[in-house]
Symmetry: C2
Subunit: 352 residues, 2 copies
């Protein structure tokens, strides 16, 4: 198993030579230069991540990580905590949105219990990596110990490494955890320095009173725990959650193995903020899949310097926005690989 | 063959009953209501278009229509006119961007010669529907006669009907035609009332001098031809083009047969402006695939009241943005069809 420290040390800059070769090829393909916009730049980024000037995205995985949150007791969610476990079973049966969208883009779904507050029934497709039975209530104290935070991160790194043997060209972490927009908002506020009211949204759909309560809980969590925004492990331990830590670890593990990580929405990007606090170079390996409707998500992406691919008013999580974006990344790499050049096609180049 | 008049008469409003049923089902699926945003509204729109409360998008086609433009003689393009024919051969060999992206979303590519200024070599996959050898130079006179305009529109309607036998759940018109952003800009200016400078862009990439020349040509085309923006056939005849007319006909034909039409960028949306001038009800059958980087495209979409699905800085045409969006429409319908309901999955509903 790769330690957190070893993974962080492996994360270097993108490989310029492969990027230059990809860029040169894009400019020879039968289209006006630059006319495929972000599909072109995406293909160049994936070349730089993988070191392959003609990268292929074939094996795709979304790793959906579930965990519960003690802060649910503060009445910050429109759904009861039992829904976390119920949705894990829904993932295992293939009936959730992430299953449908993953099938659509031909990505495999890996389901992980990182900290559901119940013992789940064993299932061949369920990876039980429990760090605890629900994170602590961040309104009253830390989410977890520093040791548990490192364990969560290393669990994410290990999950990526377990997938390598089956082939892994791109990965997206997904989330499930009732109340997890509350710790994610606390992470966003701590890292961006914005007031909690500006990065706290309605999550699964709380009403105005619920939203006001949630903002107060985020403020309280920051006051009680005083997380250090420069220390990603501290941030995770104080105001994070088990699935958020595993997600951050998946992002670090992907970068350590030169695999692009597609970010989903609010929770996943909170994980990316933690990953970037630990290893700033990780952001070059991240592709922002979409802009979530959840308040605060765009501030998170701005902080990371990432521009989302999709903006479809989605706010579900599970990795749903990320897998849709995976299809675009795959398309971008196919453009680079499969299009004819001007010379091959006998098409005249520009005159003006 | 369906006449233009018959097709227009067939285009009625969306079917409310199917939309209501689709909406009701979306609200029972295992996700917070509305949390899949535009995927949900897209599925409801397709239900209303097709009349099927659980529509399936399986058979997909992009019909790439090629035509030349006499206005190329005014030096409005960065590429020589011969590229239109060369790119048709590239489409037939499968080496163009549209081929790659259509394969990615499993859409078939239909290639049509609506008015290339050369006799193309026969090919089993090429449909020769020549209305003329290049449209007239709109800077000096009309693009075509009124009879040719009707012929172009009816050719588009017939192309949709030819595809029905192979199965057609969704269609996207694509374009190829050196200099065709010039007539498209003239159509945009005429319909929106905006000054030509605000809806004329760099097309395949003309420099500043080329852009100034192009704006002057658009102004001249409007002055010389005085198209009636309320009369779609007049607009097409005066400042359109053969492929633009066929594209408008495809959009009308799709709506007449209750099939969603995905719009691509600047040229395709110029076709949609013509279609909407002829039959305003057609816009309900249109899905704006993407926002093109080409100046003026967003003004066209605003005029039609359509919001694009993708915004990836693309400006290639051929149907490239539309086929990527087709994948999203298919995903939206799969969500509606394949997700489990709360009752089926045994997931608790919201408490708050």
């Amino acid at each position: 198993m790769t330690s957190l420290q070893d993974a962080v040390q492996r994360i270097g800059p993108l490989l310029e030579e492969a990027m230059a070769a990809a860029r040169a090829r894009q400019d020879q393909l039968t289209k006006p230069q630059g006319s495929l916009g972000r599909l072109e730049s995406l293909s160049v980024q994936v070349a730089g991540i993988t070191g392959n000037p003609r990268p292929v995205i074939h094996h795709k995985a979304v790793i959906v990580v579930a965990g519960d949150h003690g802060v649910a007791a503060e009445g910050v969610s429109a759904y009861p905590q039992e829904v976390t476990a119920q949705m894990v079973y829904n993932f295992l049966r293939g009936g959730a949105a992430i299953n449908v969208l993953a099938r659509h883009v031909d990505a495999r779904v890996v389901v992980v219990d990182a900290g559901v507050a119940a013992d789940l029934e064993p299932h061949p497709a369920l990876k039980i990596r429990k760090i605890g039975y629900g994170a602590g209530n961040i309104a009253r104290g830390p989410a977890m110990t520093r040791e548990q935070a490192v364990q969560a991160l290393e669990t994410g790194i290990a999950l990526v490494e377990e997938e390598l043997s089956q082939g892994l060209d791109i990965v997206a972490p997904g989330d499930m955890g009732i109340a997890n927009t509350t710790p994610a908002a606390a992470i966003a506020a701590a890292v961006t320095g914005l007031p909690p009211a500006e990065v706290t949204g309605r999550g699964t759909g709380v009403d105005d009173a619920g939203l006001a309560r949630k903002i107060a809980v985020v403020e309280q969590a920051l006051r009680v725990n005083e997380p250090d925004p420069k220390d990603g492990v501290d941030l995770l331990a104080k105001v994070g959650g088990f699935e958020i830590g595993v997600i951050a670890g998946i992002i670090l593990g992907a970068a350590a193995h030169r695999i692009p990580a597609v970010l989903d929405g609010f929770i996943c990007t909170a994980g990316a903020l933690i990953a970037a606090a630990i290893a700033p170079a990780v952001t070059a390996y991240c592709i922002a899949g979409h802009n979530s409707l959840e308040r605060g998500h765009s501030a998170m992406l701005r902080h990371l310097g990432l521009k989302p691919l999709l903006d479809l008013d989605m706010r579900l999580g599970e990795g749903t926005g990320a897998v849709l974006a995976m299809g675009l990344v795959e398309a971008a790499c196919k453009i680079l690989n499969e299009m004819a050049t001007f010379a091959e096609a006998g098409v005249s180049e520009r005159t003006g």
